[in-house]
Symmetry: C3
Subunit: 409 residues, 3 copies
Amino acid sequence: MKDLVERLYPICRSITGDGVRKTLEIVGELIPLSVTEVPTGTQVLDWNVPREWNIRDAWIKDPSGRKVVDFRELNLHVVGYSVPVSGRFTLAELRPRLHTLPGLVPYRTSYYAETWGFCLTQEVLDSLEEGEYEVLIDSTLADGHLTYAEHVVEGETDEEVLISCHICHPSLANDNLAGIAVAVELARWLRDPRYTYRFVFAPGTIGAITWLAANGDRCARIRHGLTLACAGDPGPLTYKRSRRGDAEIDRAVTHVIGDRILDFSPYGYDERQYGSPGFDLPVGGLTRTPYAGYPEYHTSGDNPGFVTEAAMADTLRALKEVVEVLEGNRTYLNLSPYGEPQLGRRGLYGSLGGRSDTKTAQMAMLWVLNLSDGDHSLLDIAERSKLPFGAVAMAAKDLQDAGLVKEKA
Amino acid sequence: MKDLVERLYPICRSITGDGVRKTLEIVGELIPLSVTEVPTGTQVLDWNVPREWNIRDAWIKDPSGRKVVDFRELNLHVVGYSVPVSGRFTLAELRPRLHTLPGLVPYRTSYYAETWGFCLTQEVLDSLEEGEYEVLIDSTLADGHLTYAEHVVEGETDEEVLISCHICHPSLANDNLAGIAVAVELARWLRDPRYTYRFVFAPGTIGAITWLAANGDRCARIRHGLTLACAGDPGPLTYKRSRRGDAEIDRAVTHVIGDRILDFSPYGYDERQYGSPGFDLPVGGLTRTPYAGYPEYHTSGDNPGFVTEAAMADTLRALKEVVEVLEGNRTYLNLSPYGEPQLGRRGLYGSLGGRSDTKTAQMAMLWVLNLSDGDHSLLDIAERSKLPFGAVAMAAKDLQDAGLVKEKA
Amino acid sequence: MKDLVERLYPICRSITGDGVRKTLEIVGELIPLSVTEVPTGTQVLDWNVPREWNIRDAWIKDPSGRKVVDFRELNLHVVGYSVPVSGRFTLAELRPRLHTLPGLVPYRTSYYAETWGFCLTQEVLDSLEEGEYEVLIDSTLADGHLTYAEHVVEGETDEEVLISCHICHPSLANDNLAGIAVAVELARWLRDPRYTYRFVFAPGTIGAITWLAANGDRCARIRHGLTLACAGDPGPLTYKRSRRGDAEIDRAVTHVIGDRILDFSPYGYDERQYGSPGFDLPVGGLTRTPYAGYPEYHTSGDNPGFVTEAAMADTLRALKEVVEVLEGNRTYLNLSPYGEPQLGRRGLYGSLGGRSDTKTAQMAMLWVLNLSDGDHSLLDIAERSKLPFGAVAMAAKDLQDAGLVKEKA
């Protein structure tokens, strides 16, 4: 996954443009993608698809002709969606257009107000002498398209699980190349699932809105969903609940990752679009360190050195466990509900002997029998018994094989 | 407010009598009052209006003829509702009728059992020598009236907010002259409210019962209410929930004052009458240090030196905020509920730029949009977002002006 | 109670056999018992009544002919349900059949897999020298009966309270002779109750299942129930909630014993059978130190020296209080629900004067009046007011005598 992050890192992405297309082309080498191009001006819910932005070069040369800021070194140096400019400016004229942080290049955009600007470290700015500077931004802002892509893993049913990644950030590794890389691996891992899994790779906000505008009727099929971002930093996994707060996805992720759980808020990633009141989809947000929660956030510090393969692997592991909970969360009926059935007679104690986790397996069996009254799913049982979902699901399977429970119709 | 407390302090109030009338006359100079006189013997719910008590003088003279206890120095010296007495008693005969505290004169009454007595400090009692004492209580206990008063601020609707103060305590400043003084200022501050505000100034228990007996049909209009007492001591604000526990007034006051919240109990001030099960009105109790919670409570220590203008101003400020929550707590409908509407296009980001509280205002707008699904009031939104109600209400107004939300019918 | 524990201790009980009969014979000297014998092979729910096991003698003699393990010294020395054996074995052949603990003789059984074995301390095993040992287990495993008994205290109604004790453990004092002894005393204490109290003395698991199989139609009458075990150790009382979790028995016991409350789990004593999903009876579990929670558990350390009369008396006291809550938990209607009724006029303040608990009694009266709206039982009121149930019940009685409340039909 780190390889993919490093490969995608240099590309200058934005909410539209060739950087997005190039990114999807590379992702498409790993998993089949269906790419959609939506023309500038198309109305999407309350918004309109903006003009497409592309950029070839940009720099600032000091009075001696030396490039002091160079887009080709780091694409964060240009404010996203900067209109083209070519001219000479005094440093005083430039200053309001220069965005800085101590030791870091900040990430700035101006999608809907036409302007231009550069980002650089405070130290570079401080080193500049008064005088006339030459400035070039060789960009175009013109009618074109907004691009998004989908990858679908067909399941037994057309009920869907949505995994959504934003793909609009230029050279930022954790936010969100790590999310993209983890999503790709999750997609490759899925095999013959019960649910249909839909991976949406779209620009943040306007991309999600564009996808929602085109898929309003599909939303009724979405049973569970996650936005996936900041998936590779060294911090622990954090989950932000969906707007509903107690949806099955909320409970499944909580069961898997434990107690770093945040309440929903209408800010952050595209869970805020999926969770707008008209849609109210059960889509939570999975990250490691959450949105805006680390100093490298939205700066040049969020580079491939900030994310680790181990962290991405841990995110992937958790996602697989979440998928296993969603896939396996059925409700069973105890067919012998009066008193405990005699497990020994059926070899269900004997079958436990060979396992190292005998005690857990035995407790899981008793809990599944006790709570399989038609009102409790396996996730309910795992929550109440405080046993791992996997142990509960295995117990249900063993009991089903023994004819002691059956799946509720 | 301190001036009013000091002016009312010397008056000898009780549950009936001229002290109450004199008090209401002074309050009536500040806000118009409608005064009701209810004759002795009138049945009021399970009670009967008692005889009216008035007192002109009372003292104990020691064997040398010196007044050792003098009602004219402090009206707490006489047990409230003492029957008239004039005679000579040995100290031993007097002792059972003398109530003391170390360093403080206690406040005692005997409304429904005919008796007489005096209150004094333990030190004065200890200084008395054996011998014959001359005693006078020049009081009358006779058919008359119970007096209460109302001040009404008419609102757009006839739904009412009840503010109730007890006015039966003689020279006690915090309990409840401070409450009366704050209520008067609140009444003067109200301008063209949505709700009709009814201020009831009535004797404790029997006064509230008398008012309820006469206003049973009005109770259905009462949407919110507070008893107001102990409003001027230096302790922090404390709220006692209404019997319902989760009424809008409970949530509004909790939102304003934070975490010093007590559960309802059928003891304390007249919230216990308003909260009797037949009425079950949503009336909580606002105090600073609560009922019986300070050493000066019901003693000569509760004098004007115990209450401060600053504390009363703080109580008034909180009450105004509570009123603003009640007045402004509407439910809106997001008219663009699918995805977030584009706020920038409508100048709603721009309009934020000039505010120092930009971030709060922006979050408030997103929260109002997200939760204005018809099921959440602005107070719901303030609670869930943990934003100040004022910020949420301002966001709703801005969004309404922009045509993005409308008030729910 | 300690006497009964000591008298029952030497008897070799199991899930069937003469040890159970002898135990019930002794209990029957103290309270009348109705004994049921269920033949081997009878189907009981998912199980069948097993063969009856009886044992007369058992020992191991070392090569010198000395008895190194002797059933007659301690019946725990033989694995319960051991099949008969008589022969000579080398120590190596014996070892797999010898169960030990350091310093303690463990308690082992093998009800449903035919085998035999002995239990001894690790120290005794370590002292044995290699050589040939003579072994005798003079037992019979043959068709017979499973024996259980009931004691019923008839109440005003046929709604039942179930108290269930397991009687299948051989020489183990806390688990469960102490439980039996406390149950006997509780039964002797009950006089003309409202509920009918049914005490079930049955072998664990198979006994409860056998009783349930025979009493399925009776279950609908069971309003509350407890399993009673480990009732005499020095630890504090602990309650394990019924499967329902918030049944009246759960709330009653919690009110009485406070905060040592465990959630239900389908493990432990026979609450797991009563709480199987088909029955779902409101039966919790009362113990001192809970199931498997002390080092002496299921060893020779659980002998009469481990249990104390004081601990059993404390368990009995708590049970009596629980019974008082269940018996007294009625719902009343305030007949004067508008405002507080005038208690003084009815002598209800005066009546308080003579009590040392005046303040509590007065508060209880106000709480009963305030919450007797038909929706709150006395236990609800005790919980909300944080007053002892007894004070609340006494207040209700006084108010009923005064005509201020009546029991809800």
